[in-house]
Symmetry: none
Subunit: 521 residues, 2 copies
Amino acid sequence: MTPDVFIYDTTLRDGSQREGISYSVEDKLKLAQQLDAFGVHYIEGGWPGSNPKDAAFFERVKSLGLKHAKIAAFGSTLRKNTEPQDDTNLQTLLAAGTPVITLFGKSWDLQVTDVLVTTLEENLAMIQKSVAFMKAHGREVVYDAEHFFDGYRANPGYALATLRAAAEAGADVLVLCDTNGGTLPWEIEDAIRAVRAELSTPIGIHTHEDSGCAVANALAAVRAGAVHVQGTINGYGERVGNANLCSIIPDLQLRMGKSVLPPANLARLTELSRYVAEVANLPPEKHLPYVGSSAFAHKGGVHAAAMLRNPASYQIIDPALVGNQRRTVISELSGRGNLLERSQKLGLDCSGEQAGEMLNQIKELEAQGFSFESAEGSVDVMMHRLQPTYEPPFELIDFVVMVEHRQGRGILTDAMVKVRVGEQVIHTAAEGMGPVSALDTALRKALREVYPDLDPVRLDDYKVRILDSETGTDAVVRVLIDTKDGARRWSTVGASPNIIEASWRAMSDSLEYALLNLNKN
Amino acid sequence: MTPDVFIYDTTLRDGSQREGISYSVEDKLKLAQQLDAFGVHYIEGGWPGSNPKDAAFFERVKSLGLKHAKIAAFGSTLRKNTEPQDDTNLQTLLAAGTPVITLFGKSWDLQVTDVLVTTLEENLAMIQKSVAFMKAHGREVVYDAEHFFDGYRANPGYALATLRAAAEAGADVLVLCDTNGGTLPWEIEDAIRAVRAELSTPIGIHTHEDSGCAVANALAAVRAGAVHVQGTINGYGERVGNANLCSIIPDLQLRMGKSVLPPANLARLTELSRYVAEVANLPPEKHLPYVGSSAFAHKGGVHAAAMLRNPASYQIIDPALVGNQRRTVISELSGRGNLLERSQKLGLDCSGEQAGEMLNQIKELEAQGFSFESAEGSVDVMMHRLQPTYEPPFELIDFVVMVEHRQGRGILTDAMVKVRVGEQVIHTAAEGMGPVSALDTALRKALREVYPDLDPVRLDDYKVRILDSETGTDAVVRVLIDTKDGARRWSTVGASPNIIEASWRAMSDSLEYALLNLNKN
């Protein structure tokens, strides 16, 4: 199947320009495999001339056996007043051995004179020679027209002349780049229609998020006839970021009716988004369209009720299409319907009296400062506890946490825990970086004696919020804990004027949840 | 000046639907003051019928003396087969006493029949009667046409009829809502042009981010003639979020040439964005267009070099226009000038060597997780400590904090403190609601023996933030403390992987600051 629009992923190159991202060669190879399995058509692997890591990537990616995606190497047109065979940059690009070469050149007269410091004519020659050289070596050439829209605004004739130089030299696609991210959708459309009236080479689009329109700009380009879209997974990129392919692909396919990827691949989008976040070592952004964990979460009472009557009321697509899922956020505002839905998922009975009891407990705890809307782990544990036959996997007897500052010794932190598991009483102690960490370590140490399966369960995120902070150190503290066990992840909550008690409650819910679900996979 | 486009802020209502946000009445009042000072034209305060907190807000906001913004109360049109005077929802809305009432009604036939479960005619009557009732009570009426674009797609005639019902009843503005967030910019434009051909009432726009186009959709609406834009600061909102006013306002003003706010107000946008994040207790999102700390950060080598030649190369605007700043990502130094200015205020010498020493200390502490931006108290104390003749008013020897959970006794918390004041060693203990409160109480008890003047000094606010929360309970904790002494108020900071140590540092800075300034009034 030939897609209506080709996806050119630059997560590995432009995406790595995001502040805080630094991929190893291994990371890039893992990402390339996932991107290929997902089905993007091109993977821009890096800029071989710019650093040794990228050169190593191009060497090693050849033996990965990618199935669908073509690998592209990125670099600039040749230096002014140079011939291709003497230009080290072009030679390095060639040496990367990729089927696709992406060359970027200047479209904006101001950039030619101020940054390249050369003549407008010489810039045209640089573009023409570079593209022709790569074509003569049998490569597919993607020509990235940097700053195209700024250039087109400043001097449309010259901007078009740069594209013509690339087209006549044989470029396979002309990618118009909104490098600064300041162009608006209708400006993109107008410019692309004007280019298409002059040139028959296929057109691509590369946008940035600086005015908040990166996705809309890419869509507007496709509407005007672009057939190649560049972007990154999760919108990672320099400054504010690149166009987010996790929004663009479902928009093109599900809202604009374009054929981009097989539907089965689209259903892996959420997984891919989280995988990339994981490798980038960034927390998955909850509020990304389509793939964020909040994308299909419903909090408002009115919305939650209407969703039960008709799911189309407040969701744009069936979340399964992109591999995501609907969530009903449980809070004091939720009704019985929300609870029922959740308990059915767990295979528990939570109707009638139990639902009433549970809503009362939630209300009472929320009045104390708990918040269940992002703590489904605690909600699930509470549902289990309400079952008449439930036996908790452990029970707290005592704990002591001690933080000491002793002159000359610095800070010392220890915790003691005594818990009952069935008939057994376990009494142990541990130290930690702080009081919560010491308590967590001691509790795990105690439970591991009976439940060795807890080993892979890891605390993944720990958040504290002071409620009504104006009451100073007596304020209620809410603690939210995220826990991970391989692929599963759950959140639990605790609240108290005492941070240790609040943490204890979230922590013990989390481990109780883990023990309830250990044998369920 | 009449703006080209009116900004209708719904941070307090729709924005609070974001998962994890839960504002107190105090929070909402503080936010309303900042939004007003910034210059938004309307502030939607909440849904008075839905919960007691919103009702309290409307009562108390009246005495705030807002200067520019009009306060709006939000609610639905009346119930089916009811008259306005018998409808509790409309009565509650009226009782909120706001100059503006925002009524939302159904535009989508499917929603009328499936969710309201009434006839299409009855829905028109509900809209007409509700709007007319509020107009008869002298209120400005904003009519929110929920699901307008979905409705227009399904049944354009009926969708237009609902708007006509509101317009003929006297609505001041008809706001077309893309409630599910699935509409694309050109669809928005086409629909608005069609509506404007039929009705002369001013048109507004309300968009959501579910397809990644919320900002572009709002801009497209203005291009098609909308003069009222609804959104939230930072794009907070249900599911993925609402249209982000922090992108829309600069786009309208700086890229589309619309007059929205005085330029001096626009320069406070970044500050406002971070203030709202602070009150929402969410970390400021670094990658927001215009206002994020990465929005004008340059990492790529090529970009950084080109920026030196010509700043327009890789930034869309001068960041000062929105109160943000350019950063080159390497390391950051605060200028000596800032320190000099502050030390002169204190009557201290902080030039030359001392300034260098101080900058080093700040850099080192910030790398550990401190943040001095909002902790001038700690900065002042640090300046005093660098004076060669400085003698600290007290010195810590030891402390111990103990939290115990004992079966049958609940939670017990005690702290012991040993400090030196001059030649005297004071050793005492206290209990508290939690470990930090116990330590604070013990320290004050010790110091009061020597410094009875500390009595009126009160801890006023205590905030905790987990940095790099992904490292779980070993993450660095930053504590910010606000302290009050009659009219004076100061902030201090501490950071450590141990929350008790972080709190101790902020707390002892705070009391040291108090003792330095006690005789200065």
